[in-house]
């Protein structure tokens, strides 16, 4: 049923339909309304037998869903920015313990300076934790990916946490028409969680043992192998989802016009829609430009990226996060995927802390590259002139 709803509702509703057993959460802008919606559903008895717990902090929320998952529950939380950073120690631990928790990150800049506005520095900063990361472009995509996240995370070949990254405000607070799933469809797709191991007095196991040097490395390597297996598991579930809902979100990447494009723009998140509009227009004007939307960021789809960029002459990667002192994160990953290709490479940093990226700026970024005005390498776009004050 198509309804015009706000992003946080579309997310909360998909969580409800995924029949979680435990939700633990701590509010933070711009995520708050997701868990407020879930709290309301809980208060109204719409979450079945699920338990909803208000944590004392994001750290507590993450720890509670870790415990709940270890006990055999399907567990969910949502957070943003500082909240995600506060969860970080627990999330690394949950990934290492191979607990298939699902979380939504309403992407927000990190402090300092304090900013409640959107970029993706928060989720990017824990890309190495062993958590699957998927960045969505729209609220429909966010809605659809939640049951899929549980299914992939809980797959016995994967067993890793799954993070759905949704741009704060730009998506979470936006009204969009969303074709809301019904319970029957979700139940058909997502079976109840059946853990391989759980805390159970009838079959005692020890979880979270420490590993001395003869064992530690194998545990970590196993995470890498599981993340690799997740690639195929995800592709299979994307396909299943398409068959079931007739909504095709593509694979790990979505390539528009990349076959014959001379310039390809690579990026992820809600900014993709804007760039697609610009590129569609430029195509009509006869420019050979293409778009590569990255959906799955971890595991990074190197093969798909290399394939999509094989015919390109110039690549523009738009990053909305920094790795201060190095190549911006997405740009670094794309570069490593196309190593050896003869490409003119532009690493553009834009849209940090809610800085608007207007259509005109996107057009300028592409035209500057097309017309040879931009020097290859790393640069900021949309940056005001300012005097650096050294305190």
């Amino acid at each position: 049923m198509i309804k015009v709803v706000r992003g946080f509702y579309a997310i909360a509703e998909a969580v409800r339909l995924s029949r979680p057993n435990v939700i633990a959460a701590y509010p933070i802008t711009p995520q708050t309304e997701i868990v407020e919606n879930l709290a309301e559903m809980y208060a109204n008895g719409e979450l079945g037998d699920a338990e909803y717990v208000t944590a004392e902090s994001e750290f507590g929320a993450a720890s509670m869903i870790l415990g709940a998952s270890a006990a055999g529950a399907r567990a969910f939380t949502a957070t943003s920015s500082q909240g995600l950073l506060l969860m970080t120690e627990v999330l690394y631990n949950a990934a290492g313990m191979r607990l298939p928790i699902v979380l939504v990150v309403a992407n927000r800049a990190v402090s300092a300076p304090l900013s409640i506005w959107n970029d993706i520095q928060d989720s990017i900063s824990i890309r190495d934790a062993g958590i699957i990361q998927l960045y969505v472009e729209s609220n429909q995509e966010a809605h659809d990916m939640i049951p899929l996240a549980f299914k992939v995370a809980e797959n016995k070949d994967v067993l890793l946490p799954f993070m759905i990254c949704v741009d704060g405000f730009k998506l979470t607070h936006a009204y969009e028409p969303v074709d809301l799933l019904d319970q029957e469809t979700v139940d058909k797709f997502l079976p109840p969680y059946n853990p391989v191991v759980k805390l159970d007095v009838n079959n005692p196991v020890a979880m979270g043992c420490y590993a001395p040097p003869p064992y530690y490395m194998e545990f970590r390597a196993a995470m890498e192998f599981a993340m690799d297996r997740a690639r195929d598991v995800m592709l299979k579930e994307f396909e299943e989802w398409y068959k079931l809902t007739k909504r095709n979100w593509g694979g790990h990447v979505v390539a528009d016009y990349c076959e014959d494009a001379e310039i390809v723009v690579v990026t992820m998140g809600s900014i993709v829609s804007l760039i697609r509009g610009v590129i569609n227009q430029m195509r009509k004007d006869g420019m050979k430009v293409g778009l590569l939307k990255i959906r799955t960021y971890r595991p990074f789809p190197s093969d798909e990226v290399r394939d999509a960029l094989k015919n390109a002459d110039k690549v523009i990667v738009i990053d909305r996060a920094l790795s201060i002192g190095a190549e911006p994160p997405l740009s670094a990953d794309v570069k490593s995927a196309v190593l050896g290709n003869d490409l003119e490479f532009h690493s553009v940093i834009a849209g940090l802390g809610g800085r608007d990226v207007p259509r005109e700026l996107v057009e300028k970024i592409i035209r500057d590259v097309a017309e040879g005005r931009a020097k290859p390498g790393k640069r900021f776009e949309g940056l005001n002139e300012f005097e650096e004050v050294i305190p």
Binding site: L66, V201, P204, G208, C209
Partner: protein
């Protein structure tokens, strides 16, 4: 199968294995154990050499209370709440200091969890650094004895009272010198729904500088001097204390431990000894310890 050990790697004379065994026995092994990072975790949970006979989870240092809370709500949601008691075993570092936030959250929401703090009065796993449970005057590696410092300044945090202040239904202190008393307290806790906090005094042979065969004797003296009063609260009311026929002077407890030995010769030692005796007297008055 034994519920705890054999095969754990605790030092000969270590106090906490007594507490862990008593607690697991008191609950007939109907336990899901949540263990904070610390001595107990390190000596019992190496991969391939786990010594626990009950389901066991260790996450990180400061989140045991929240992990236990998550397990408890999961069991409720899955209609398995009668399957086991969720029991935390955490040291004083994990409890008094780094994990007090999640513990406060757990007690505030009154999760049905038995939280057992094995109190060995410093970060003993990492080699005797001070915690907020370290008593005044104790020498630790971060509160060493020097010209200007007679060991730890400031007094031990009263975690039992902090637990009581949360309005939880049961809070108690205990000692491994009185295993039957501790066993009874764990059993009593298991009969009550909601959050239970039990703090059990467990001497540390290496950190305290005592002979391994004196563990029980030292723990007993802590109680007999009034420095470690054994108290029991139900619903905020003090319901029971261990009375002392003839309370001993704190010096009897202090002089047999290396961590306090300097107090008898350091220029500032006399003041500290007086203050420790004053704390014991205050405990005696507050809880009516003197029979």
């Amino acid at each position: 199968m034994s519920l705890f050990g054999p095969g754990h790697g605790a030092c000969p004379g270590c106090g906490f294995p007594i507490a862990v065994r008593e607690a697991l026995d008191a609950l007939d092994g109907k336990v899901i154990a949540v263990n904070a990072t610390g001595c107990l975790e390190i000596v019992s949970s190496m991969y391939g050499r786990n010594t626990w006979g009950v389901p066991y989870i260790h996450s990180i240092f400061e989140n045991s209370a929240a992990v236990a809370a998550g397990i408890e709500v999961a069991l409720k949601a899955l209609k398995r709440e009668n399957e086991a008691h969720v029991v935390v075993f955490a040291g004083d570092g994990a409890t008094f200091d780094i994990g007090i936030g999640t513990l406060s959250g757990m007690m505030d929401r009154n999760h049905n969890v038995i939280y057992i703090c094995y109190d060995n009065e410093a970060y003993q796993n990492t080699g005797n650094q001070q915690s907020m449970a370290t008593p005044m005057g104790a020498a630790t590696t971060t509160t060493p004895v020097g010209k200007n410092m007679p060991g730890k300044m400031g007094r031990k945090k009263d975690m039992v009272e902090i637990a009581v202040a949360h309005g939880i239904p049961y809070a108690a202190s205990a000692s491994i010198a009185y295993p039957k008393d501790f066993n009874r307290k764990v059993k009593r806790a298991s009969e009550i729904k909601g959050s239970k906090y039990i703090q059990v005094h467990c001497p540390c042979v290496t950190g305290w500088g005592i002979d391994g065969k004196l563990t029980v004797e030292v723990a007993k003296l802590a109680v007999e001097t009034g420095l470690y009063p054994l108290v029991e609260y139900e619903n905020g009311k003090l319901v029971r204390v261990r009375k002392l026929k003839k309370r001993k002077s704190v010096e009897e407890y202090l002089k047999i431990q290396r961590r306090f030995r300097h107090l008898f010769k350091h220029p500032m030692g006399k003041d500290v000894l007086e203050e420790l005796q004053r704390i014991a007297d205050e405990n005696a008055r507050k809880y009516g310890l003197d029979a």
